[in-house]
Amino acid sequence: MPMVLDKTHRWHVLLAHLFLIALVCVVIFPFLMILSISLRPGNFAAGSIIPETISLEHWKLALGMSYTGPDGRTMSPEFPVLLWLWNSIKVAAVSGLVTLSLSTTAAYAFARMRFRGKKAALSGLMLMQMFPAVLALMAIYAIFDRIGSVFPFFGLDTHASLVLAYCGGISLHVWTIKGYFETIPFEIEEAARVDGATPWQAFRMVLLPMAVPILMVVFLLAFIGAIIEYPVASILLKQQDKLTLAVGSKLFLYEQKYLWGDFAAAAILSGLPITVVFILAQKWMVAGLTAGGSKG
């Protein structure tokens, strides 16, 4: 479309740029600030965005090393950040795998089979999605308290309980995988069935290998979902060495014990990998969905 760039138009473009730059500054400000704070000495020091003296004390503490300050005082890490990160990864990886396998098999039945109550089950899953777990926290606590009195392995303050609590959240993933399965022509599996494969074999050997991209995406989404989950983890986990990052991080910012600098380093250390994984997953997610949508 031919466009004549008159003077007002150029002004508009300039204004838009100014607005966007201002907005980017506001949005990016917390990230730059937190980077600067993590490199400043001390937990209270205030100063410019570019710190005058660079100190690695917070980073050393976040990585679990003790730090000897210029005044000769040795500081040891207040909180086991790396252990929390490891706890988070452990819980998220296991619950991601469990969620993935539960939702993949269910999605296969929904996409390929006929059975009674299919429509009701699908909309039931959708409906479940509307009610967040945070509304049932008391019940979840009571349930795991009871389970724990019989099986301490799955009781309160265990990572196994957290995995169990997370593995019910399959509804969205079932829908995602089902949508992808439906884009894969049924004829390929049918050919395998003609050659004598059972439905399970057709699923396992034919359909699954073709669905690897969406399975990766769903795993990553479930993984991130478990890592950033706060409410359920905050009531199930109490001991400091059992906490996940989402629950532990807030311990840095108690009014009585305000470890701003240490928090900054820990936040970058744990937030950066999660952010990168999320951006990657988001990209694949979009790619996976458009690939799914191509068939209509």
């Binding site: 479940m128 509307m130 409410p231 936040a267 999660i274």
Partner: protein, 511 residues
Amino acid sequence: MSSATFKRHAGQALPILIALAMLYPATVVYASGQTLLAATMLVIIAFALWIYSSSRVYAYRYLFPGIAAALIFVVFPMLYTMAIGFTNYSSRNLLTFERATQYLLDQTYSGEGASYAFSLHADGSRRRIKLEKEDDPKAYVSAPIDLAADTPPAEVKAEAVDAASTGLADPVPLKEVIALQPKLKLLAVVLPDGSKLRMSGLRSFAAVAPLYERQADGSLKNRENGSLLKPDMKTGFYTSADGERVQPGFQVGVGFANYVRIFTDSSFQQPFLRIFIWTVVFSALTVFFGAALGMLLAVLFSWEALRFSGVYRILLFLPYAVPGFISILVFKGLFNNNFGEINLILNALFGIKPPWFSDPWLAKAMLLIVNVWLGYPYMMVVCMGLIKAIPSDLYEASAIVGAGPVTNFLRITLPLILKPLTPLLISAFAFNFNNFVLISLLTGGRPDFLDTSVPAGTTDLLVSYTWRIAFQDSGQQFGLACAISTVIFAMVAVISLVQMRFTRIAAEESR
């Protein structure tokens, strides 16, 4: 059997084996007295066995694990929440009736029966207990006990030996016995005939007997003083004749008492109403500002004359990609009244230090700022997708009549994207209605109301308020909290219904 048939059957046999193996934990649960839990497990196992052995319900084999997990860990907690809402479950009424009764029946007192002279003897770093009775030629000596440990054993067996030749070292001084008394008090010595003795004085152990005896009518008789305790199924306590309640309390159904309290108790009704209004205002304003900013950005990015829009887009998307718990805590630090960077800048520029966390209005403003920051990128991405779908000839036609960008937006873009956007706006509203993480990590609901009997704050949403009733302070009023949760369930259900209606409208329009 060929390997193919074997494989075919193995796929079926494995779930059946797992289901059968689950019978063991079910038995363990039953044995521990959790009948209801055991029955639930049995039902699930029976279902699994049926599904994996009958070929008529083949499709359910694939569904069962996922659906079962969703039912057990998502649906059941919700139903259980509603059930708890009808009980008085709280830190005062924590145990089930059976457990509370058992607790009282396990209480003992040193009653009739002989008293034994007690002395403590060193055996290396550990200690042995020696018990003697006057006209008994035998002495009873325990196995060595590690009393220095944090949790010494609850019971120790004693063997009968000849009183004259026990082979023990001299008794330890009384000073040590006094020091060890708290741990010794917890210890029961079991004699060869099975009777249990407990410490009754610094130099004596005596037989202990159950304090309460269950009567036929369910009341408990105190054997020490003969008084009767009757279970009161209204309050959830064993009560003596003069009305005194005996700890521990137990859970009983209280009908609609919790709901009556929420809606009629004035000390309760008022914070509930105020919190409800703030919850709605908060969610609505968040969605409005987030959608407005996201839409504005999406429109700007659809403008071809704007260069570098890719760079802006990535930078402006960042708040969505960073884990929420981290960015919320970052803001908590940045907004800090005294040494937060935001107040340092405001102080340097304008000489003001707004008390973000102690003033109710500023705290609310801060929550909105942070939540819009967190939420607009999602709206931006969604709106960009919707704008892309608008046919460009509409804009070409409007350019011919000489319409400006504002007219374009109001007459073409907004009407066309609002329909498909509405369901998403409603689900964003529902999400923020229950945005527990933001409140919990940023303000914790504070600053608190000063005139309420339960912990409640000016920035509390209904969910965080529920959480505080259940988990904060000593009360732990689970029953009450669950009743409020049930009320929120109903509200969410209404929002969902509205949303589904709008989704259907949007779907029909696009057809």
